[in-house]
């Protein structure tokens, strides 16, 4: 059997075409997702060189970043001309090169990282890439998934391979069980708060331990999604029954004999006993509470029970000046309790927390309550199918009655490339993954939270420990 291998080693080995002396390797890519923002220049490159897409059938395209999330019952109009051109370019490119494409009015349209798993395009043990850093999401299925740049998109389109050096392999082991009211999002924010935004640089992180395996597939996707915010190229979680049950019967997942063969293999997709990681970080799940970010980097994550930090507490001069800059940008005073920070917007959605389970969790908090005066709260399902299920379950009505805006699928205010954006100085509790300066609109202020925490903030008008709100009852 040879040496014990990690899950990452196994997937890597099974996709290796060849390795040069210096370690640069050519690996095969099983699945390639394409969206409108990072692909036009790649298709342009192919055209200029007279090249074809090697495996259109292993490629799936969908527009998500730019598209409006307003009512689509009378058709979809993209008012911003550049956005429209970009989406039209994707339509044309996918047509010219024969790549499968979910059009804007297709119910299967949505954020790429929600669509892939939903369709069974994402499979365990596969290599999956997309010109988008949050491709890490798909690692929840025990697949090696990572974001690539546009030149690499072109490389994959032309060759179905990538030139890579094997990353290091880090283990983040989450021992014990998460306390009630503490979610996958809180967990990953806590992990990033601990390792920092560069903690995983050069690594693929495998998340292990009871608290991880206890998570639903949705929760695992939330964790892997944000591996990139910890600097890692990808996140990985071993395959178990939940993984296989999730994949089963999806439109693009294998059927019949191929399915039987696949699950035999998928069951081997976990790290061997005694396999060695380059580094291991251990987190105790029992100690965790709901987390929020206060600053402009995902590593600025703290328990909701904490206070806004001061530059004096920083570990070094570089971090001190970053804290100072973040406080100024965020309009916050050091020492303010986090649960006293008032917000005027709430965004529930994105590839981090735009799946059905996330909407259910937020709706459970919103149910029978009303959003605070002056609050603008929006819910953007991750895909047309998520929206459909939510409506079947009546979640849309719960949100609407509570005063939330119920919208169509897309990336929306996660990065504010469409019309959903904050005005300067506005402050948002957001279930997305990035709180960078200007992320949700120029000079906008973002606090990253779980769907439950976002719903609670919408109700109270400030960052709130959802556990307190639920304790109070209605």
């Amino acid at each position: 059997m040879g040496n014990p291998r990690t899950l990452f080693d196994k997937i890597w080995d099974s996709h290796l075409i060849e390795t040069q002396d210096d370690g640069t390797s050519l690996i095969f890519i099983d699945r390639h997702m394409v969206h409108e923002v990072t692909s036009p220049q790649a298709f342009e490159g192919l055209r200029l060189a007279g090249r074809k897409v090697r495996h259109p059938e292993l490629t799936l395209a969908v527009a998500d970043h730019n598209i409006p999330t307003s009512d689509r019952s009378n058709g979809i109009v993209i008012t911003n001309e550049e956005s429209r051109i970009q989406v039209e370019a994707l339509e044309k490119n996918t047509k010219d090169f024969g790549v499968p494409y979910f059009a804007m009015d297709d119910i299967r349209q949505g954020v790429v990282h929600i669509v892939g798993p939903e369709q069974g395009f994402t499979l365990p043990g596969a290599t999956i890439v997309c010109g988008d850093s949050h491709t890490a999401t798909h690692g929840a299925f025990g697949s090696l998934a990572f974001g690539i740049g546009t030149s690499e998109v072109e490389h994959v389109l032309a060759t179905q391979t990538l030139l890579q050096k094997k990353s290091k392999n880090m283990e983040v082991r989450v021992e014990g069980a998460l306390p009630p009211g503490v979610t996958a999002k809180d967990l990953i924010l806590a992990i990033i708060g601990k390792i920092g935004t560069a903690g995983g640089t050069g690594c693929v992180i495998e998340f292990t331990g009871q608290a991880i395996m206890d998570l639903s597939m949705e929760g695992r996707m939330t964790v892997c999604n944000m591996a990139i915010e910890g600097g890692a190229r990808g996140g990985l979680i071993a395959v178990d029954e939940k993984t296989i049950n999730y994949v089963k019967g999806r439109p693009m997942s294998p059927k019949g004999a191929a399915w039987e063969a696949a699950i035999e293999y998928w069951k081997t997709l976990k790290s061997d006993e005694g396999a060695v990681y380059d580094e291991t970080v251990i987190i105790k799940a029992e100690d965790l509470v709901p987390y929020v970010t206060w600053g402009t980097s995902p590593e600025d994550a703290l328990p909701i029970t904490a206070k806004v930090p001061s530059p004096a507490e920083a570990r070094d001069a570089g971090k001190a000046s970053a804290i100072e800059r973040a406080l100024k940008y965020m309009g916050l005073e050091a020492g303010t309790p986090l649960n006293e920070i008032e917000v005027d917007h709430v965004f529930i959605g994105s590839c981090t927390n735009g799946r059905i389970e996330d909407l259910r969790a937020a709706a459970a908090v919103a149910k029978g309550r009303k959003v605070a005066d002056g609050m603008k709260a929006m819910v953007v399902p991750g895909s047309g199918l998520v929206k459909e299920i939510a409506e079947e379950e009546g979640l849309d009505q719960i949100f609407i009655e509570a005063g939330f805006d119920w919208r169509e699928a897309g990336c929306s205010m996660c990065l504010a490339m469409n019309d959903d954006r904050l005005a300067p100085g506005e402050r948002c509790a957001s279930t997305s993954n990035r709180n960078f300066e200007g992320r949700q609109g120029r000079d906008s202020r973002t606090h990253l939270v779980s769907p439950e925490m976002a719903a609670a903030a919408a109700i109270t008008g400030k960052l709130t420990d959802v556990r307190d709100l639920l304790k109070e009852g209605n």
Binding site: I17, D22, E44, H65, T159, T161, A198
Partner: protein
Amino acid sequence: MEKFTTLTGIAAPMPLINIDTDMIIPKLFLKTIKRSGLGVHLFDEMRYNQDGSEKPDFVLNKEPYRNAKIIIAGDNFGCGSSREHAPWAIADFGIRCVISTSFADIFHNNCFKNGILPIRLPKEDIDKLMDDASRGANATITIDLENQEIKGPDGGTIKFDVDPFRKHCLIEGLDDVGLTLQREEQIKNFEEQRAASMPWLVR
């Protein structure tokens, strides 16, 4: 791709840590379907006021840094999204080399594919270069990729490491897709073997 052999130019100091891709090129400018023309928007929100006027304090708005060819940056430069618009904007501005203690992986990779050399150095060397860079017009430094050396304004040299394959591609201006297409036979063999051993991955 433009070849990279030696580069002599002004180095701009940007000591801020975690300069992310949203700072390098805000998403507003991701709507282009071309690679060129992004240089005027490099560091847009740090560089311009809302009304479009320049922020006089920002380093690239000051002489001589308007003509910088090199950036000396704080830790973890280029974190955030996979957008290749970040290196496109940097290159379009005229910067061909970024030096820091650390880079985010995707950004680091994207640099090489666009003729930009990212150099990682220990903290002491960065501090020294940051200091050199803040001396303005006297901040000209030379990057010699062949010999893997940085020559400072005072004549001192700093050695740096670079991946040999990446170095070769930069010096020769080689494009990855062309190189990989020469491996057609190996790729074909792999595809056949994959279809036999993991048939469920074939669509």
